[in-house]
Symmetry: C2
Subunit: 259 residues, 2 copies
């Protein structure tokens, strides 16, 4: 097991990289930056469109999000291929390899953000006829979406500048998103408590609300992952190391991991 | 954009791999097989333990699943590092690179299976005092878990033998899991319809049931992904290509992508 160390230190096992390889690698890196920027914009747009569909109960718009997911999957595959090609042909070492590896991990989280938008859109599409998302819940959902989109923008800006401090901003924003979710759940509890009958359609609607809040909360976890990857590019400190340091200093939360 | 093609064909851009590199790569590959086998067993065990906790309402067992997830994350990081090391140092090409790349993707799905088990466990842990999972739903949940675990075993066996036919078995099993979920939802609808009052705790319980079914259904999606990766190792046909072929021949399902 070589651990993350060999991406940070010169352990004497390096292959020599020719100046042509270095030149070609620099071009690869620029290209990867552009592709990743594009993919992040598609992911952010998917959140916005999904929440737009939810607000207006627009099944056609929801379908657009669901179909648009193929584009994200294709981008992921394309970027994966370019990363592997670069590793195999340019033989980047240390910080360069760290960069390519991080890109391969960042796209996994971007793809999962897209998946969560699809989930929100599917919930909109599958609402029973005549049932709409509760008006009182919309502001919470919009707030969570907005913060997530801002967070993605900030992380991508930090990616461009290899700025590791983004992790602090990202943690704060994620905290705010989790708080908004928690307030939304309290509000929902009140709505449920005031229900007179226990109807199947209403039950399903409440589940949909809980799920939507989960999906939006889960997006913020993925964006924090992105921030950790950006920080890793800049510092060489792995996300798992960061996570362990974080866990020691903070109590565990009750929020789930997925879905 | 080089696409998946350069992992299948000799496009004249190959670096020469020395016989020492070939020898070392073969050793890497054996090691990756062993590590992946270990990781898949941990993932399968997490499903079994999570459903065990659910059946008995055992919060301590649930906590064990939640804490055990760190082990899966560590395995993922370890395998990732070994894959990158192998790509950079041994310069595998074509089917060898395809193998390493597929391993890097397989571990993402194994990690996500672990996440879903954690979600199930968290739902068990967070059930209100005195509320247990509905007895009538247990057989469905157990059936889904059992099929998922079988499916993982079959896929890993196919991985060992680089057998692409596993994709058919996996599709069949996943279909069975989705049908079981669908039957479970019908049963739940009946339970809800027979409720007299609309209590918050009962509401939460029903949501937990719906979510648990989702998590188990979602696991089967990840296992199918594994099967597609195994098939890619054997044939060089990418999962995205497979998916497109599949979509053309089958109507879209209503099942969601995540959570």
């Amino acid at each position: 097991m070589k651990g993350m160390r060999w991406m940070s230190e010169n352990n004497g096992e390096d292959k020599k990289q020719s100046s042509l390889q270095r030149y070609l690698y620099a071009a690869d890196k620029e290209r990867l930056r552009t592709l990743l920027e594009e993919m992040s914009q598609i992911a952010a747009a998917s959140i916005e469109t999904a929440v737009g569909a939810l607000r207006s109960g627009d099944a056609v718009l929801a379908e657009k999000v669901i179909e648009g997911d193929d584009l994200i999957d294709e981008k992921e595959e394309q970027i994966d291929q370019e990363c592997l090609y670069s590793i195999a042909m340019r033989q980047p070492m240390r910080e360069d390899l760290r960069f390519v590896y991080s890109v391969m991990k960042i796209i996994v989280d971007l793809e999962r953000i897209g998946d969560q938008s699809v989930n929100i859109a599917m919930n909109v599409r599958d609402l029973p006829e005549g049932i709409t998302f509760p008006e009182e819940m919309i502001p919470f959902v919009e707030k969570m979406a907005e913060e997530n989109i801002k967070m993605i923008g900030e992380v991508m800006q930090a990616f461009a500048g290899e700025d590791e401090t983004v992790i602090c901003t990202a943690r704060e924003r994620r905290k705010l998103i989790k708080e908004t979710r928690s307030n939304a759940v309290s509000m929902l509890d009140k709505i449920i408590a005031s229900e007179k009958a226990c109807e199947n359609d209403r039950m399903r609607l409440f589940c949909t609300v809980i799920l939507t809040l989960r999906h939006l909360s889960r997006i913020s976890d993925h964006v924090l992952n992105l921030a950790e990857r950006v920080s890793f590019i800049a510092t060489g400190i792995s996300p798992l190391t960061l996570k362990r340091a974080q866990e020691k200093s903070q109590p565990k939360t009750l929020f789930d991991k997925e879905g």
